[in-house]
């Protein structure tokens, strides 16, 4: 089985370790992983800020780069949602591109979703000691509807004590360009999330969206909170001795 990596621009620059973890896990499971060299950004920041033409340009580039892939797998729930749900809407008046977007949509998966739903894998034989809280990112939960897969995988990690949050449904305040258009508000929302995590007793905050994690990690660091922020692929790969 061949999988093309949709690494996302944020992961590329800030969290390549999570990307590598994802590659190691997929290869361990016998997947032939490819990385299309032309891959850049899906256009989500432009789309969500109202820059339609610019988002479409990046969307067209994306569709061309991943054309013909068997499976496209991404370490970001949010970026996966853009390709699966937004592209067909973005190109609804462009029959050629619409066909391309519709053909690609069912083959794009978020990483944990791909492992549990397509490969049927939940136990990666990983072990990692610590108490962890999972941050359910908004687009992954509400647009993709992917809620259980990351939890299924994390529950199998030996030694990992997964604790629930009081308000798992609340946005962490990242919100793409919202983070810099309304920085004070974004930070206040981040604080609520972090307090929830800290009072859960967790020392590890794990999530499946690099952007939320970057925001929460940045805020936790600024406040000097003793919290390790990890991408789920990073945690799983580390626990399985692959990183």
């Amino acid at each position: 089985m061949r999988v093309a990596l949709f690494i996302t621009c944020l992961n590329d620059i800030f969290m390549p370790r999570a990307g590598l973890g994802m590659v190691h896990i997929l290869e361990r499971l016998g997947i032939d992983v490819t990385f299309p060299d032309g891959h850049t950004c899906c256009g989500q920041p432009q789309w969500n800020s109202g820059y339609q033409a610019e988002a479409e340009a990046l969307g067209r580039h994306f569709l061309d780069v991943f054309e013909g892939a068997d499976y496209v797998v991404s370490p970001s729930g949010s970026c996966t949602a853009i390709v699966r749900h937004t592209y067909p809407e973005m190109f609804r008046d462009d029959p050629g591109r619409l066909a391309q977007a519709r053909a690609l949509a069912p083959r794009v998966y978020e990483f944990t979703e791909f492992l549990t739903e397509v490969l049927g894998t939940e136990d990666l034989g990983a072990s990692l000691k610590g108490r962890a809280a999972y941050h359910a990112s908004c687009h992954m939960t509400r647009m993709l509807g992917v809620t259980e897969p990351p939890l299924k995988l994390l529950r199998q990690v030996r030694g990992l004590d997964l604790v629930p949050l009081a308000h798992p449904e609340l946005c962490c305040g990242f919100g793409g360009t919202f983070a810099v258009k309304s920085p004070e508000l974004s930070v206040a929302m981040g604080d609520d999330k972090l307090e929830d995590v800290v009072s859960s007793g967790a020392k590890i905050l794990v999530g499946a969206d690099p952007s939320c994690l970057l925001h929460l990690q940045g805020r936790a660091q600024r406040r000097g909170l003793p919290l390790r922020v990890m991408h789920v692929a990073e945690l799983l790969a580390e626990g399985a001795g692959l990183l």
């Binding site: 610019e54 687009h139 810099v180 309304s182 660091q221």
Partner: protein
């Protein structure tokens, strides 16, 4: 509209969070922007506590009511679960709003047939003139008023008071807000931002007494004051939650009973109704009542549901001598036929406010309009001017999608916020400083080599910046908040957050190395 109301909240333990610095408010630009108002709200710990407690309770109650519906549907005890109900609600609203002229004519005919008087008002000035005229020709000097968003929208109280007619709010939350000289901060719970202590203080000053803070006492004091007003008033003013087109029935929902007294004790009842409040039939009304109660307070049905069909008829025991229904356009007809038409499906339940993480931080006043939360961010630019209010959809939303999930009319609120943002860009109104970087990135990143080069360059710049005294760098002190300047997305990020060290190599670089040196990882 008179909606099932929720009471004010008490305070809990103070938050331990380091909240954004209030001094930043003065730096957030000179215009009365959303950002400036938001900063003021963020600095008000009491307000934030009160709002958070109330929306968390309301949100939980709503979620429980919806979950219950799923269970009832499974047992065949109700017609479809929440998803099915809101699907039907959307279809009914789409039909009604799609043929609004026909349903309005039908409703007007039915109201007249039952002895009511129908007025059509284009906007605030017309509503003010009509109600003033009714009051003055009948010698009314005191009017009692039920909770109504439409009258808030047109500033009716000020219009009447300038003509010498005193208006007293009879909904407890609205009465508190009136005493405080403020505007409602929530569609359903207008005094959501007030603590019990503040309320006791306001009522105490109004009655010249020092009051304890327990609810029975406070409600009792307000009740005694208001009872007298009901008996003295020559006019009762209300909104309407719904108007049934086939029967001309004005439907009001309350949890306090003030709606009944307002609409039946005085000899004249005036209802001010947004034209989108129509539902075709009584059967449709039943669906909406169920959705409204569950969505706004988690109740199965509100405590009082009033169906007012005409003034007091011959031989009837109570009701007013005259019933006037004023249909308010107020900019609504300009939304018809546009990509925003679905916003007219709103039943003002407040669920989107209760679930909104931004509203939860700020309460309603930061939105600067009568409507707040997600519905306010969509509606205010449409009714109150786009240029003045474009910052609401641009800045008051993180696109988390919670509102769209709970709306009982299935209004795609996040999509409508995005539509506003597209319009803002089309009209050249994005002053966030992000336009240029977003455009440059889009132009450059369709060329992979430019993308890879810029990723490497950006990473290098960030790594150097972090080691220096650059804001957010390891050696830099925390910086106060400031507005986003054209050079400022990075500064805005670093206000309150560190930037984790960019990796020494991008994934692209690591991948290439891996391909060259075999698969031994980093």
């Amino acid at each position: 509209m008179t909606t099932p109301k929720r009471g004010p909240q008490t305070a809990t333990a103070p938050r331990t969070a380091a909240t954004p610095r209030p001094e930043a408010a003065s730096k957030a630009g000179s215009r009365a922007s959303f950002r400036r108002r938001a900063l003021a709200a963020l600095g008000d710990a009491q307000l934030r506590r009160a709002v958070r407690i109330s929306v968390d309770e309301a949100g939980a109650a709503r979620n429980q009511a919806v979950a219950q519906l799923v269970a009832l549907a499974r047992e065949g005890l109700v017609r479809g679960d929440f998803a099915a109900m809101r699907h039907r609600a959307r279809d009914i609203k789409a039909e009604t709003i799609g043929h609004l002229d026909l349903y309005l004519a039908q409703a007007a005919g039915a109201i007249r047939q039952r002895g009511g008087t129908v007025h059509f008002a284009a906007g605030a000035a017309e509503v003010g003139a009509i109600v003033r005229d009714i009051a003055l020709t009948r010698g009314v000097t005191l009017a009692v008023k039920g909770k109504s968003m439409a009258t808030e929208e047109v500033g009716l109280n000020a219009a009447l008071e300038s003509a010498g007619v005193q208006v007293v709010e009879t909904d407890l939350g609205e009465y508190i807000i009136q005493l405080a000289g403020e505007k409602p901060s929530h569609i359903v719970a207008p005094a959501i931002h007030k603590s019990r202590e503040e309320i006791a203080d306001l009522l105490g000053r109004a009655t010249g007494r020092s009051l304890p803070t327990d609810t029975p006492t406070l409600a009792g004091v307000a009740r005694r004051v208001l009872r007298e007003k009901f008996l003295q008033a020559g006019m009762g003013i209300s909104g309407a939650n719904f108007v049934v087109a086939e029967t001309g029935t004005v439907c009001l929902v309350t949890n306090e009973g003030n709606g009944r007294l307002t609409t039946s004790a005085p000899s004249v009842h005036v209802a001010v109704v947004g034209i989108e409040k129509l539902v075709p039939s009584l059967e449709d009304l039943a669906l909406f009542l169920s959705l409204l109660a569950r969505s706004s307070t988690g109740q199965k049905i509100s405590v009082y549901t009033h169906l007012i069909t005409g003034p007091r008829g011959p031989g009837e025991a109570d009701g007013p001598d005259e019933l006037h229904v004023i249909f308010l356009d107020g900019g609504r007809s300009s939304i018809l036929g546009t990509e925003f038409q679905d916003v007219l499906h709103c039943i003002r339940c407040g669920a989107c406010l209760d679930q909104c993480p931004v509203y939860r931080q700020l309460g309603g006043h930061a939105y600067g309009g009568v409507y707040s939360g997600p519905i306010g961010a969509v509606l205010t630019p449409l009714l109150g001017g786009f240029a003045e209010n474009a910052d609401l959809p641009a800045e008051a939303c993180s696109l988390c999608g919670a509102c769209g999930e709970v709306c009982p009319s299935a209004i795609p609120l996040p999509d409508l916020i995005l539509a506003h943002r597209r319009r803002m860009v089309r009209e050249g109104r994005d002053h966030s400083g992000l336009g240029l970087p977003l455009r440059l990135a889009a132009a450059a990143w369709t060329r992979p080599w430019v993308y890879r080069a810029s990723a490497r360059l950006g990473r290098a710049v960030l790594r150097i910046a972090r080691g220096t005294g650059f804001p957010g760098g390891a050696a830099a002190p925390a910086t106060p908040a400031g507005p986003v300047s054209p050079a400022g997305p990075l500064a805005a990020w670093l206000n309150g957050r560190d930037l984790p060290p960019p990796a020494s190599k991008t994934f692209h670089e690591l991948w290439r190395e891996r391909q060259q040196h075999g698969r031994d990882g980093q």
